[in-house]
């Protein structure tokens, strides 16, 4: 059903139930996301897409459009709120862009650059999380994981449908795990898909790296904002 709602004061028309984050993008308003994967079920884990809907803060990936909704995206308060979440992600992990192979095609980095993230307002925690190197073609840099759960939900064994990635423990001790046996059964293209799906540099493929020159990497060639808004690089 076609409905109408307002985004930052502008009336837009959409189909009822479309995730707000996608309605916004279709109408030229960029909302940053990390866990949201268009076409896949909503995860709602990262909260980076927070907007104000009818006066209350909500994750715009998890909310479907309804008639008459009043959505605010680009107020100073909401920008700061989203930025706060990204700053927390940066201080809770070790996001060492200079030594990360994912740099330039990392969604967290692209989101942070777009927000003009500078020094975080929270103290850096420098957690010590062990990397996982046991699988043949894939490895985990655990200290970069932001627990978006994209890999947990969307990367599954092609034969059995079993989950290959999982999260063990809770709270600050939570860590991403890899089923080595299932990981070794992944065909090379599925490994590449998993690396691509990871919005940070936590899942990486062995035996390749740094194959795109600086300046030509994914989000340098075509910014995340323009990709989301469907604007081709000039």
């Amino acid at each position: 059903m076609t409905i109408q709602l307002t985004i930052d004061g502008e009336v837009v028309t959409t189909t009822e139930g479309t995730p707000l984050v996608e309605v916004a993008a279709a109408n030229g308003t960029y909302v940053p996301t990390l866990c949201h994967h268009p076409g896949s079920p909503c995860l709602g884990t990262c909260r980076v897409c927070a907007v104000r809907v009818n006066g209350a803060i909500a994750a715009s990936c998890s909310l479907g459009a309804r008639d008459g909704m009043v959505v605010e995206v680009n107020t100073p308060e909401l920008r700061d709120l989203r930025r706060t979440i990204v700053e927390m992600l940066f201080v809770e992990g070790v996001h060492n862009c200079p030594s990360c192979e994912k740099s330039g095609r990392c969604q967290l980095q692209a989101v942070a650059l777009d927000m003009r993230l500078e020094g975080a307002r929270f103290p850096y925690r420098y957690p010590d999380r062990e990397a996982e190197h046991d699988a043949a073609r894939i490895w985990l840099e655990r200290d970069r994981c932001i627990f978006c759960q994209r890999c947990v939900e969307f990367v599954r064994d092609r034969e059995t449908g079993k989950k290959i990635f999982s999260i063990s423990r809770r709270g600050e001790r939570a860590r991403i795990e890899l089923d080595v046996e299932l990981a070794d059964a992944m065909p090379p293209e599925q490994v590449a898909e998993a690396v691509d799906l990871c919005p940070v540099g936590a899942i990486l493929a062995k035996g390749v790296g740094y194959d795109v020159p600086i300046g030509q990497r994914r989000y340098e060639a075509w910014s995340l904002r323009n990709r989301v808004l469907g604007r081709r690089p000039s």
Binding site: F90, V94, H95, N96, C97, P98, S99, C100, S103, G104, Q109, A112, L113, D114, R116, E118, G119, A120, P123, Y124, Y126, P127, D128, D143, I214, S223
Partner: protein, 210 residues
């Protein structure tokens, strides 16, 4: 004098120096004084200043570089408009230097990954200082066989901090230029904004985290 009575080694800024010629002093008057420092960094960000290439010439009509590794002046004399700080805080001398910069500069810029979040030196934070020193000096594979197991300690050697910290966790930093190192373009953008008295507006397109 040191506590054990030995003559203290003088820092270069304490030694008698010839004042610059009147012509030089006159040429510098009215220019914006800038100081630069590398704390626990690799000087790569400072080299990005040289990446301004020929743009450094008109910039030097507007600014004069006081304390800097480029000029080899060791202390800031007088009031400085802009302090360019590269590197994180990893020892007591870094803290003292950073506080000296904060005290003498109107605006401090935190430049590069090390200054902003600790960078490569902060990798030691997850290992621990004791383990680092043990690996470097006691269990090092390159330690001379038969040499005494000693971790160097002397009052002239700055004591290491337990963890490497970003500059803004020690003093207030006014602006940030990310990158490892940032492009000369990014450094130029911020320095020329400050020199012209414009609000600093670093374009996203020339900003990198690596």
């Amino acid at each position: 004098m040191t506590p054990d009575g030995a003559a203290r080694v003088h820092a270069s800024h304490e030694l008698p120096a010839t004042p610059p010629p009147a012509q030089t002093v006159e040429a510098r008057a009215g220019k914006i004084p800038i100081a630069t420092i590398s704390l626990c960094g690799c000087w790569g960000c400072t080299l990005s200043i040289l990446d301004l290439d020929e743009r450094i010439i008109p910039l030097l009509d507007a600014v004069t570089i006081t304390r800097s590794s480029l000029t080899d002046i060791k202390r800031i004399s007088g009031r400085c408009a802009v302090g360019f700080v590269e590197g994180g805080v990893a020892n007591e001398e870094n803290i003292e230097t950073l506080e000296h910069f904060r005290e003498h500069c109107d605006v401090l810029i935190s430049v590069g990954a090390c200054s902003i979040w600790g960078g490569i030196p902060s990798l030691r934070n997850t290992v621990g200082l004791a383990a680092c020193l043990r690996e470097a000096y006691l269990d090092s594979p390159t330690r001379v066989p038969g040499s005494p197991p000693i971790i160097p300690r002397h009052e002239e050697i700055p004591r290491l901090t337990t963890t490497v910290r970003p500059c803004h966790e020690v003093v207030h930093m006014d602006y940030f230029i990310s990158g490892c190192p940032p492009d000369g373009d990014a450094v130029f953008s911020v320095l020329s904004d400050l020199a012209a008295g414009r609000p600093v507006n670093l374009p996203t397109a020339i900003t990198r985290f690596d």
